[in-house]
């Protein structure tokens, strides 16, 4: 047996029994409620903690979006329901600075508290040990800390909401000097500080997760589980974790620099000679001599790779779900893995495409443009291979499959519109317009969020031992698919008409005056989209109690997580594993059943 096949778990964590131990009978360290469900070191419990917390944050971020949509449809009118909560002082009418806070918080919540934690926190934690055949993570205690470091982050972001004078109001990108000099955004005093601290805690939390994921995948694979026998979900999660490892320190450093600018007047990002609110910050004791563009470079050096953290695991899940429910091997396994690595590699040298209009040397823009356009290549390869997977398949239209297909359909839109943004001359016109808003929502909401729904429908039976209702799932899918396109598609055209993002009331401009009816249509689609999620909520919680009980492998899938009981007990596997082939052996011609699990030697 070659080294790559070497079994053994050299990094086996303390207190975790070796695979082969029969867990139903060993009761020698029964844990109390708190250690079992609250401060748990079990990766599955931590995964579920991330799932529940992430879904609550999703609702919060979604409500912010509704408030934004109300203002864009009916500016400066009393907002029903939410208005009195958000803007009690004005009787429920959005204020200009309140609007700025809304979109800042919407972006921050959705990226740092919803999509990243749902993809990596939830499914990274839940799936990695199960799919590679490990009893737990390499560092279970660090894993627990990773979840609990998220909470100071949540506390800080909630504090920034309620901070005196209003929340952070510089956008989720927090560009200085608006974000660093208090006089520039009156009121956003501690709001902005809490926001920066929150990001730091979230970063620490992600870092702990990322270290764990990479170590676990590298060191704790079951015997025979070579890298090229890993499910693509694991490839996506591992590459996303590597991105976090390399990029997060930069964001953490940059956030501290900005915090120092605000609290100690360090002046990293404050240029000499600015005059804000008729006062020179220098006369108030601020240091100067810094540069606002420095922040943009540091911020995007993290946040562009972060965009791929938001989508690579989703691509992995979709690949797995498509293959299982299409009863067909994934088309082009290695190109799929390489293209994810390609996206990640290129992802590190394209941060400048957020800065084409920033005043950065335009010659550098040409380099960033070429690198950015080339990212379309691995993305296209992925789409072709997903189509290849569906060709000649035996598709089961389950809820999980429907959402996975939706991901492919929507990712095509989000990917293609990116080419306009990458092209510097076209970007001169469309930069910061609604076509950009359409683009990233097609990737992150219509893409990643649909993949998260698919993943929930697909792995719910493993998590809770019961299946979700297919009938409610289909209803959820149909309504979500229609309304989300109602929300985001016409934003392309709004962008072409030149409509700027982040404008509280665009209709004063002659250029935009005629766009209000379209915005009203979009807003009503958005309200419907949120309301429709009731079918998901009912299904999610209802199925935990009333769902059909399932056995180990309800989907007849090949990968290792389906070898465990549903839900898996402490230590995961109740027998010794050996892996003989890749995870996509569906429709195998001579096999007795139409799939051959990874632990079965026969027929492949």
């Amino acid at each position: 047996m070659s080294h790559a096949h070497a079994p053994a778990h050299p990094a086996r964590p303390l207190g975790i029994d070796p695979p082969g131990t029969v867990h139903t009978t060993h009761e020698h360290h029964e844990l109390g409620f708190v250690r079992k469900y609250v401060f748990s070191t079990d990766h599955k419990v931590i995964g579920l903690q991330f799932l529940f917390t992430g879904l609550v944050m999703l609702l919060l971020g979604g409500l912010m979006a509704m408030a934004i949509r109300w203002q864009l449809a009916y500016p400066w009118t009393e907002m029903p329901v939410l208005g009195r909560l958000l803007f009690p002082a004005t009787g429920g009418v959005t204020t200009p600075e309140g609007y700025t806070m809304l979109f800042t918080m919407h972006g921050t919540l959705m990226i740092f508290f919803v999509i990243i934690p749902l993809l990596t926190g939830t499914f990274g934690n839940y799936l990695i040990p199960l799919m590679i055949g490990a009893p737990d993570m390499a560092f279970p205690r660090l894993n627990m800390l990773g979840y609990w470091f998220w909470w100071p982050g949540i506390a800080c972001i909630l504090l920034s909401f309620g901070a005196e004078g209003g929340g952070p109001a510089a956008g989720w990108t927090s560009y200085p000097p608006l974000s660093t000099i208090e006089a520039a955004a009156p009121g956003s005093n501690w709001g902005q500080n809490w926001w920066l601290l929150s990001l730091t805690f979230v970063g620490v939390s992600s870092m702990m997760g990322a270290v764990n994921y990479v170590t676990t995948i590298v060191k704790m694979r079951a015997p025979g589980m070579t890298f090229f026998r890993l499910p693509l979900s694991i490839w996506g999660l591992m590459i996303a974790a590597l991105l976090q490892l390399f990029a997060l320190p930069v964001l953490t450093a940059a956030s501290f620099m900005q915090l120092f600018d605000r609290v100690f007047d360090a002046g990293f990002f404050t240029p000499t000679g600015t005059i804000i609110n008729n006062t020179s910050p220098e006369t108030l004791g601020n240091a100067a001599g810094g540069h606002p563009l420095l922040w943009q470079h540091l911020f995007w050096f993290y946040s562009h790779p972060a965009v791929y953290i938001l989508v690579l695991p989703a691509m992995g899940f979709v690949s797995d779900i498509l293959s299982v429910h299409a009863r067909k091997p994934i088309f082009g396994y290695k190109p799929m893995a390489y293209s994810m690595a390609g996206i990640a590699g290129l992802g590190f040298i394209v941060w400048g495409h957020h800065m084409f209009m920033s005043g950065m040397n335009p010659a550098v823009g040409l380099v960033f443009m070429t690198a950015t356009i080339m990212i379309a290549l691995p993305s296209a390869v992925k789409v072709f291979n997903w189509l290849g997977t569906l060709w000649g398949a035996r598709i089961h239209l389950t809820s999980a499959m429907l959402f996975a297909i939706a991901f492919v359909s929507m990712f095509i839109i989000g990917g293609l519109s990116g080419i306009w943004m990458a092209s510097t001359p076209v970007d001169i016109y469309i930069h910061d317009t609604y076509i950009v808003v359409a683009h990233f929502h097609y990737v992150v909401f219509a893409g990643s969020m649909m993949a998260i729904f698919a993943a929930i429908y697909h792995w719910f039976p493993k998590m809770f031992g019961r299946a979700m209702s297919e009938k409610l799932g289909v209803i959820h899918f149909v309504g979500t698919f229609i309304t989300l396109n109602g929300v985001f598609y016409m934003m392309h055209q709004l962008g072409l008409a030149g409509l700027m993002r982040r404008t509280a009331d665009p209709y004063d401009y002659a250029t935009y005056a005629h766009l209000q009816p379209i915005n009203q249509f979009i807003s009503w689609c958005a309200f419907a989209l949120l309301a429709w999620q009731v079918f998901f909520v009912v299904n999610f919680f209802g199925s935990m109690i009333w769902g059909r009980r399932v056995g180990r492998n309800p989907w007849n899938a090949c990968s290792l997580e389906w070898e465990t009981p549903s839900p898996p007990g402490h230590g995961n596997f109740d027998r010794q594993l050996a892996v003989y082939h890749g995870p996509y052996e569906y429709g195998v011609p001579d096999a007795p059943r139409d799939f051959v699990p990874q632990t079965q030697r026969a027929h492949v």
Partner: protein, 262 residues
């Protein structure tokens, strides 16, 4: 009954997926009629930007319709209840080569085709006309939440008693390569003139040169395109393009008014 239900589900899903390319393309063809398309184009280089947009639009449309159509067909065709097994294949090396190489070549062509327009707008500043990087027509100064334009004195100085300063309204000559120096007093702003297809951030501490040549007289919206604080949404300005002789007369009158008030 179960078979009927399954058929209905197939039809619904297929129609939904089919609606994506059909309605997707339709909204693009109808957008102009709904006023959801580019505003008029009145600058010398705007046409080249629009042309590149349409070039990419064609490529994107073909790819979009092609891939979505395959998806619709595969989902409809292969979701039929069928007791036989799927086609058993793990991929095709030749196919991978083809669908990697062809997009690669196309994307390189796209990248190269963009470069000329970019260098024209952002890098190659006029050298032969009345205004150059060193001797701009004006300074545009952004601050929360207004635009100010300064025309230099006869010697080209931007300081001193003879500088003309006008808030909100920028007046420029038609058919002339105008160079301006973009500055910010406080935070980031962005100088966006949709009809010129022109955008450039204003950065405190930097003086960024910007040029354009307006081809039609008229008044156009100047919009701040970078979040600059609570009043960002109303940081509106106007650019007035006057025929050359009218512009000269306007500037002379401004200068005269300057001395009249002294």
């Amino acid at each position: 009954m179960a078979a009927l239900k399954h058929f209905l589900l197939r039809v619904v899903v297929t129609l939904l997926l089919l609606a994506v390319p059909v309605l997707g393309v339709w909204t693009f063809t109808e957008a102009d009629r709904w006023g959801l398309w580019f505003p008029p184009m009145v600058s010398s280089y705007g046409g080249s930007i629009d042309k590149l947009f349409y070039l990419i639009l064609w490529m994107v449309t073909v790819t979009f319709v092609g891939t979505e159509a395959l998806l619709v067909w595969f989902v409809f065709r292969y979701s039929k209840k069928d007791p036989t097994r799927a086609i058993f294949t793990h991929g095709n090396h030749k196919l991978e080569m083809v669908w990697t190489a062809i997009p690669a070549v196309l994307l390189v062509i796209v990248a190269i085709s963009q470069m000329e327009a970019w260098t024209t707008v952002k890098m190659n500043f006029p050298e032969d006309g009345p205004y150059t990087r060193e001797k701009p027509l004006m300074e545009v100064y952004a601050s929360q939440f207004d635009w100010r334009v300064r025309y230099p004195d006869a010697q080209g100085n931007f300081t001193g008693a003879d500088v003309i300063e006008v808030p909100y309204d920028i007046t420029v000559p038609e058919d002339t390569k105008v160079v301006l120096r973009l500055k910010s007093r406080d935070v980031l702003h962005s100088f966006f003139v949709p009809t010129f297809r022109l955008k450039q951030d204003a950065v405190p501490g930097m003086e960024i040169p910007v040029w354009f040549e307006a081809t039609e007289p008229g008044s156009y919206d100047l919009i701040c395109a970078e979040l600059c604080g609570w009043g960002h949404y109303k940081m509106a300005g106007k650019i007035h393009v006057l025929p050359k002789d009218e512009f000269d007369a306007w500037l002379a009158a401004k200068r005269a008014a300057l001395y009249a008030t002294d």
